[in-house]
């Protein structure tokens, strides 16, 4: 066939059905899916607003300072360029939105123009200046462009396109008070470029009012180390700290997951994964909100019953499949069995037979379930607030309290007990502050009547004449240790000091408050997974999230080579039950790879070939050449994957480049 230049493909005429079966029944129509999509969009829109609001609030303080710094910067006749060093932290991905937002605020609130330069678009000084000039001068309106065209028409020496005189000409019309140039990722810039840029800006400073902002991800000191003394003398600046990203994550968590308005609850396992990843690997706010978004998307995409989360759902909009899906949920079965045990058979029959009955039940149950979940969230927030207010020693963030609460582990846990114990000990002045601080939480005010306690407390304090705060009977100051020696043994006994009348009354008050709070917590901290229809209300699946956000590329390749039967199926790789055994039916590359794993950093090719051919050498005339072809191909594939490399250290050897499991 080698002499032929082209080939004609002639498919065989067969009347047989194609191997892949066609779908004949119309099971999954687009209708409910698009409705679920709409529901998702609606819910996510609210969530996104909450995220954006808390992010704005977080950055507001720093951005206020920066805007003030820019607006107060001296315009001309300064000896140094006003410089802001923005320590934006190691999460590089969040620098972009931060500076974008900042730029918008600077242009809106002050009379300055704002330009962002990144390291990738500024490999040298010339390109940097070209970009800078285009960005600054393109901010003008259309009629200004005409003016520029007329000025350059006169035919004299033209300005080169990296000449700052362009900016000067633009600025000479009295446009802005100062030109703010932001170096977004100062680490990515070449030091020489930075030094030359500062030098140039400094020499133009008498004509162009520059203000520099540097985004720094390491520290101001390491930034200063990169510049020359001359450049340092030409800059005069302030340091601005951006909020640490773990605090931001904590705030976002409070606004999104632990909020009392959230419709779809994230499960504790999923949140633990997301938060652990934030702590261990990346510190990136975008990733966090992406994770939550992806989880909601997965819920609404794959779960047919999620349509019931749609607000104002009408019975007619649903098809029978939705109800069928609900009847197959584990929590539905559990509920049905419980009801059968109770003997209410008619209702179970109704639930199974009547769609309308089930619909009403679902709507009601979802409302109740959401209330229970909101109460849980609120209680977790209250607990975290109390702990923070009392400054209890291992400071546990809200996220971990919430995760424990949502897994149903908080009731009876040492954490809760310890908090309740310290509540019984607090003196009256702190209790008043605590009540005041808790008043903002709507979750607790609905349940515990804080105002009565406040009134009682005020009354009690007014009736005392001392300024000393009242102390409860559990306060350590009302206890003293007593040692007695009886028969040459030391006995320690606690002794309670006599309480005054007011202190007794206060002890009673705080005892009531404590009991009330305890009841509240006991009622709020349920196990959410035991709720009826918890499959609709809570999303807590690990697998699509882990695959989407934490892929394991190297592990996948190594696994495919080391145990190909995992991917190819056991038929094509021999039916060996023995894990890791070499079998001839495995692909040649996998065989060579397994031999490769057993060798040291330098591999003798001849030895490798001997081992390979002894394992799957073929008989016959051209057996050896066939085996050699397989061997060569396997080596080439390993080389392509970057596992092998030719070496000059030793003849007939190749170097091993990668070790398994790293």
């Amino acid at each position: 066939m080698e002499h032929q230049r082209c080939y004609i493909y002639e498919p065989q005429d067969t009347d047989e059905r194609p191997a892949k079966r066609q779908r004949t029944s119309k099971t999954d129509s687009k209708g409910p899916q698009s409705e679920r999509l709409a529901t998702f969009r609606q819910l996510w829109h609210q969530q996104e607003k909450r995220i954006q609001a808390s992010l704005d609030e977080v950055d507001k303080a720093t951005q206020d300072q920066l805007v003030q710094f820019v607006s107060e910067a001296p315009t001309t006749s300064a000896a140094c360029i006003p410089t802001g060093l923005v320590i934006a932290g190691p999460s590089i991905a969040s620098h972009g939105p931060f500076f974008e937002h900042l730029g918008r605020r600077i242009t809106d609130e002050t009379d300055c123009t704002h330009v962002v330069l990144t390291g990738s678009e500024s490999p040298n000084l010339k390109t940097l200046l070209k970009n800078l000039i285009t960005k600054i001068t393109s901010r003008t309106e259309e009629d200004d462009d005409l003016e520029i065209a007329t000025t350059t028409r006169s035919g004299g020496p033209k300005l080169l396109n990296f000449d700052l005189a362009h900016v000067h000409r633009w600025q000479s019309k009295g446009r802005v008070k100062s030109i703010v140039v932001t170096i977004r990722d100062s680490e990515a810039f070449d030091s020489n470029v930075l030094v030359e840029m500062i030098d140039l800006f400094h020499s133009w400073l008498d004509r162009l009012p520059f203000v520099l902002l540097f985004g720094i991800s390491t520290s101001a000191e390491s930034f200063e180390d990169r510049l020359s003394g001359k450049s340092l003398r030409q800059l005069d600046g302030q340091k601005f700290d951006v909020t640490q990203s773990d605090e931001i994550v904590e705030k976002l968590f409070r606004a999104t997951t632990a909020s009392t308005e959230v419709q779809l609850q994230m499960g504790p396992n999923l949140m633990r994964r997301i938060l652990d990843r934030q702590k261990d690997h990346v510190q990136n706010i975008q990733d966090y909100s992406d994770g939550i978004k992806y989880a909601s998307m997965s819920h609404f995409f794959a779960n047919h019953t999620s349509i019931f989360l749609q607000p104002d759902l009408s019975f007619r909009a649903l098809d029978a499949h939705a109800f069928e899906a609900v009847r197959n949920l584990p929590s539905f079965r559990r509920r049905a069995e419980e009801m059968l045990d109770e003997g209410s058979t008619q209702e179970v029959r109704n639930m199974l037979d009547s769609d309308q009955f089930l619909f009403d039940l679902i709507i009601e149950e979802i409302r109740q379930g959401q209330q229970a979940l909101h109460a849980l969230n609120g209680a977790a927030v209250v607990l975290a607030d109390i702990r923070r207010f009392l400054q209890m020693s291992p400071s546990v963030p809200l996220s971990s309290i919430w995760i424990r609460a949502a897994s149903g582990e908080l009731i009876g846990s040492p954490l809760l007990r310890e908090t309740m114990l310290s509540i019984r000990k607090i003196p009256s002045n702190k209790l008043a502050q605590l009540l005041l601080a808790l008043r903002g939480d709507s979750a607790i005010t609905n349940y515990v009547d804080l105002t009565t306690y406040e009134d009682q407390l005020v009354e009690l304090i007014n009736s005392t004449d001392t300024t000393e705060p009242l102390r409860s009977q559990h306060d350590v100051r009302n206890e003293s240790m007593r040692t007695t020696v009886v028969a040459q043994k030391v006995l320690l006994s606690k002794h309670k000091a006599a309480l005054s009348e007011q202190d007794k009354a206060y002890s009673e008050l705080i005892g009531n408050f404590h009991d009330n709070l305890e009841r509240y917590f006991a009622e709020a901290f349920i196990d959410p997974r035991a709720l009826f229809l918890s499959e609709i209300l809570i999303y807590d699946l690990k697998s699509p999230h882990a695959d989407a956000f934490q892929p394991r590329p190297r592990f996948a390749i190594e696994r495919a080579l080391a145990s190909p039967q995992d991917y190819l199926g056991s038929e094509s790789c021999g039916v060996d039950s023995d894990e890791g055994a070499l079998s001839i039916s495995q692909p040649a590359t996998a065989l060579v790879y397994q031999l490769y794993l057993e060798s040291g950093p330098l591999i003798n090719i001849s030895d490798l070939w001997t081992a390979f051919s002894s394992m799957c050498g073929q008989e016959g005339n051209d057996g050896e050449s066939k085996t050699m072809a397989l061997f060569q191909r396997a080596l080439a594939e390993l080389k392509l994957l970057g596992l092998l490399k030719p070496t000059k250290k030793k003849t007939d050897h190749v170097a091993k480049m990668m070790w398994k499991g790293l």
């Binding site: 410089t83 060093l85 320590i87 932290g89 190691p90 590089i92 000084l125 010339k126 200046l129 006169s154 035919g155 004299g156 020496p157 033209k158 300005l159 080169l160 990296f162 000449d163 990722d185 680490e187 990515a188 030359e196 140039l200 020499s203 991800s217 390491t218 520290s219 101001a220 000191e221 390491s222 930034f223 200063e224 510049l227 003394g229 340092l232 003398r233 800059l235 302030q238 700290d241 640490q244 773990d246 934030q278 702590k279 261990d280 690997h281 990346v282 510190q283 934490q550 892929p551 394991r552 190297r554 592990f555 970057g642 596992l643 490399k645 480049m657 990668m658 070790w659 499991g661 790293l662």
Partner: protein
């Protein structure tokens, strides 16, 4: 005298310099003349010959006296053509009425290739002239004038006299203790003096000493002249420590360490910290010692070395430079990952996040890819890496996660 000044600092390359020169000359010649020069022939100036022609054309009809062309900082011109200086030096021979002045920081007589160029040397200021120059403008002792009712006879004239008296004495002290040894030029001297001035006169403002108690002030504020803080150039003007005034002792290393800890503004994530420590160890330990330090199956505690005490190391015959003072050596990526895994007690899954972090650290320039044959390929396993941070930083980093990096470092670290 008609003249044009070209500042080399503002010219990005040689061509830019030529264009600027022509533009500046045209502007200067147009200045004060009713009849403007037709600029069309001067649209482009690509090289030195074009500049020569342009200048000739400009000046040939110009019957007046000399035209002076000044090049400021010409020796620092970026991307200058090699013939720039010799050509400029000979412009005067071919073009009438042109006088060129080159302002340079270093003598360039040899580079001009022209004997007999007259030159003027500005010698650096000596001590007396520096003191005289800076003494002309004394800063104020009292930023806000003292209460008039309380001190009615302290007039502004008297205050100015006090300022000048104290400032001049102070300048001499700063010169002799600090600037003589660090920066003898006017700028550094002025910066140092201005930085030290406020903390120096603080007791006077507080009312502890009178304005003329110079010797007592010197004794009280002697730490200002013992530390190097005021000499260093910083972007952020840091207030010089006042706290040491109580005992007069300079800050100990431990207080410096505390100050240094504060500079790491943002905590790195747990695994990122370990990656950085592993990278540091991979850069500074020779790879043959890895089996001793990082093998899992031997008892780990035996491999940790005692941190060297001062004095012990001086016993050895060969005095070696400690490894952490040398430049870091390159290492392959797999070695970094292997050390990373051995530093951590528990298992880390092989997730892509690890590689993301390495990429992040690279863009933060904490890790640097070392140039080489295959270094353009980001997926090449054989490419080498290097760390780009120092010992002090990694030590604080390690203490943050409970690893004493010195115990894993070959050769140990003094102090």
């Amino acid at each position: 005298m008609p003249h044009a000044i070209v500042n080399s600092c503002e010219c990005i390359n040689g061509r830019h310099l030529l264009e600027q020169t022509v533009a500046a000359c045209l502007d200067a010649l147009d200045d004060g003349v009713v009849e403007k020069i037709d600029r069309r022939p001067y649209a482009r100036t690509e090289n030195l010959s074009a500049l020569a022609v342009a200048l000739q054309r400009m000046l040939q009809d110009w019957g007046r006296a000399k035209f002076v062309l000044v090049f400021d900082g010409i020796d620092g011109q970026r991307e200058a053509p090699p013939t720039l200086l010799p050509a400029l030096a000979r412009f005067g021979e071919t073009i009438p009425n042109l006088c060129i002045i080159l302002i340079t920081t270093l003598p360039v007589a040899l580079m001009l290739r022209k004997p007999g160029t007259p030159h003027l040397h500005f010698s650096p200021y000596d001590r007396n002239s520096l003191l005289a120059i800076l003494g002309l403008n004394p800063p104020k002792i009292f930023l806000t004038p003292p209460n008039e009712e309380q001190f009615p006879d302290y007039t502004p004239d008297l205050a100015a006299e006090d300022d000048a008296w104290l400032w001049n004495r102070f300048l001499a002290a700063v010169w002799d203790s600090l600037s003589k040894h660090t920066g003898r030029d006017l700028t550094s001297f002025r910066n140092t003096a201005l930085r030290t001035w406020r903390p120096f006169v603080q007791p006077v403002v507080d009312g502890t000493f009178g304005t003329r108690d110079f010797s007592r002030l010197m004794v009280n504020r002697r730490h200002l002249f013992q530390l190097e803080d005021s000499v260093l150039d910083k972007i952020i003007a840091q207030p010089i420590a006042n706290g040491t005034a109580v005992n007069g002792a300079p800050p100990t290393p431990s207080t410096k360490l505390i100050a240094m800890k504060k500079t790491i503004a943002h905590d790195l994530p747990y695994y990122t910290t370990h990656l950085l420590i592993a990278a540091y160890l991979a850069s500074y330990n020779p790879s043959r010692t890895d089996t001793t330090y990082f093998m899992k199956h031997t008892d780990k505690r035996k491999n940790k070395r005692k941190v060297f005490q001062n004095g012990l190391s001086s016993k050895s015959k060969h005095r070696r430079i400690p490894r952490h003072l040398l430049t870091p050596s390159p290492f392959p990526l797999d070695r970094l990952l292997a050390i990373f895994r051995s530093l951590l007690e528990d298992h880390v899954p092989q997730v892509a996040d690890l590689y993301t972090q390495i990429a992040t650290l690279t863009s933060m320039r904490l890790l640097v890819r070392v140039g080489g044959v295959g270094s353009t390929d980001p997926l090449d396993a054989g490419s080498k890496w290097r760390v780009n941070f120092g010992w002090e930083w990694v030590r604080t980093l390690g203490r943050g996660v409970g690893i004493e990096v010195g115990e894993y470092l070959v050769g140990g670290v003094d102090g």
